[in-house]
Amino acid sequence: MSSTLSNAVRPDDGVDPTMRPGRLRPRRDAQAPARRGRLGPALLILPALALALGIFAYPLAESMWRSIADPQPGVQNYQWFAASAANWAVLGRTLWVAFLSAVICLALAYPYAYFMTISGPRLRTALIVIVLIPFWTSLMIRSFAWIILLQDTGLANQVLSWMGLGPFHLIRNTTGILIGMVQVLLPFMVLPLYSAMKNVDLRLVQAAASLGARPIVAFTRVFVPLAMPGVVSGSLLVFIQALGFYITPALLGSPSQMLISQYIYVQVNGQLQWGRGSVLGVLLLVATLLLLGLLALLMRKSRRAAGDEGGLL
């Protein structure tokens, strides 16, 4: 048999119901009627667009401008940043803490989300509610609660000492920041993971078994790659949010180990150095964009398999 033969029985203008979206696109003229009605919906996005421009694009442009114009025009603010190792350390620490938050969230959320996909509807609802509980209390209150729980004489250390461990310093350091951030950010990992996992066709795992794959192989070679978009979007959400955290590191971290948002606050509020604060913001943005670009490069292959439908990147 030949592939041309099987094509011959198919009408050529994409009406074959067995055709999956992919290579063959409808002919251009088939799209014409849809194009006419496109202006209306376009108008409807205007409010959101205006809001986005107002609260995002304008301040961003302002920051960029100030980084080279405040207090006087020139690159002195960038020179100030580059000259001090302590500045680099803050940027590096911020990226590192955000990365660790994403990794820890992923490690905690992956089994959790997987369990959600295989459990019944009632248990699943309960699991979602549990993960969303942090959203119902204020960030401030939660951070103070952590201080009480995690201080050297707090409940956590009491429990550890009953088990013959500790005491450990759990706050005023990176550990404290991570505990606080992971708790806040966990839902942002669980939810995208769950939504990616529930879309994985578990029959594919069954098919892998029928082809001789042991359960662990079927899981790692079929389930894990197919759930990968959830890992990527969850990790990005957590990582990017973690970069900008202020309250949690301010309350649970140590002033000697500042993160960049605290440092910006110090520059702008404490020393009225708007230009330096802006440089910190701009450099954080650049570093983040570089990382995202790298990730997008790595994701190329899976995008083709997904029929170019695209994910977050």
């Binding site: 033969l5 074959d16 067995t18 066709d201 098919a207 892998a208 001789g212 079927a218």
Partner: protein, 370 residues
């Protein structure tokens, strides 16, 4: 590539297998012996337990009772990945993140086939299914029929003990389906493996199968060749499911050698060949029946029942009559062109047949038409 010796297939024995779910019994005490190299089709209406039976054989589902043996060895507690059976799914189940070549190589990797041998096997099986040159496409970049071929290639490439297929052609259009039916039949003849095929399309079952198992309500009603099922149906369900039939229902009495029924004033009778049911249903195929304009035109000694003509359709090769029986049910008769009548819709007529013909079955319909 699969062993080419004819009859090199595997024997599968399903013994008194039951599968119960919380609210239903999907498979109810099913027994089925599948011979080595046989092409057997599980045929039945939706929800009759075909997929469940196939999944039990494949090892995707745990059985509640009974046992399954492959080549005489019990496998009901052997996990799917150790049963060595190839499975083709209705939804293809191709791995979307792997290319065609990677999909087909997957079972070979699990079996630690050397890399070079893998490449050769993949190329050769792609040739067999007519997809040479497609190895670097992703499943999304293929048409439904092409995806189906890849699924078939992937299930065949590791030379499985038997190939199980669950409505593999169900999602394809008619032309393509007919083409692939012939290809599957050819490949079955070439490789001589045991094929277990699920469909609810009676015509597809007739084209492909050596034997057909008719499923109804989680049970097997009958297993046999197409001719067995058509000429000697074991139940009213099978008679109706396999082709057209005319059914005469009435109380049956027996004198030991012959049975009799009084069908709305017409006496029908025949020789006793098995247990005579109380409520009987005499089944006749359209080719066994003839139509006459009056009782006198029917041969002496034949059975005859008065009917009303609903339609008389000229088919080129002959005539097809639709008739209203005295109990209100519909009868179907096909006659060759040589036996033309001038009957028109609304006319009274007689349907008749040589008295010994027909199969007497138990009338187990829940609602009787009489």
């Amino acid at each position: 590539m699969p062993d080419k010796t004819p009859g090199a297939g595997t024997r599968i024995d399903v013994k008194n297998v039951t599968k119960r779910y919380a609210k239903s019994t999907a498979v109810d005490d099913v027994s089925l012996s599948i011979e080595p190299g046989e092409f057997i089709t599980l045929l039945g209406p939706s929800g009759s337990g075909k997929t469940t039976t196939l999944n039990l054989i494949a090892g995707f589902t745990e059985l509640t009772h009974g046992s399954i043996e492959i080549d005489g060895q019990r496998v009901d507690h052997v996990p799917a990945h150790k049963r060595g059976l190839g499975v083709v799914f209705q939804h293809y189940a191709l791995f979307p993140h792997m290319t065609v070549a990677e999909n087909i190589a997957f079972p070979l990797q699990q079996r630690k086939t050397p890399k070079a041998a893998q490449a050769a096997l993949v190329a050769s099986v792609l040739q067999t299914v007519g997809l040479a040159g497609y190895q670097d496409r992703f499943p999304k970049e293929l048409s439904g029929g092409q995806q189906q071929r890849v699924a078939f290639a992937r299930a065949m490439v590791f030379n499985p003990r038997a190939l199980l297929m669950d409505e593999p052609l169900g999602a394809l259009d008619k032309n393509l389906r007919e083409k692939l039916q012939l290809e599957i039949k050819r490949i079955h003849q070439d490789v001589g493996r045991t094929f277990v095929f699920v469909t609810h399309d009676q015509e597809e079952a007739l084209i492909l199968s050596d034997r057909i198992a008719i499923f109804n309500n989680g049970r097997i009603e009958q297993v046999g060749t197409s001719a067995d099922l058509y000429e000697r149906p074991a139940s009213l369900f099978v008679a109706r499911f396999m082709g057209e039939s005319t059914v005469f229902k009435a109380q049956v009495s027996s004198n030991g050698s012959d049975w009799h029924m009084d069908f709305h004033g017409s006496t029908l009778h025949g020789p006793v060949t098995s247990t005579v049911p109380g409520k009987g249903a005499l089944v006749l195929r359209p080719e066994q029946l003839r139509v006459a304009e009056s009782r006198a035109d029917a041969p002496a000694g034949s059975a005859a029942v008065p009917v009303q003509v609903i339609q008389n359709i000229y088919l080129g090769s002959g005539h097809k009559y639709e008739l209203r029986l005295p109990d209100g049910s519909t009868g179907i008769v096909r006659t060759p062109l040589t036996e033309r009548t001038s009957l028109r819709p609304g006319d009274s007529a007689y349907v008749h047949w040589p008295a010994h013909q027909g199969v007497l079955l138990e009338d187990n319909d829940l609602v009787s038409t009489t």
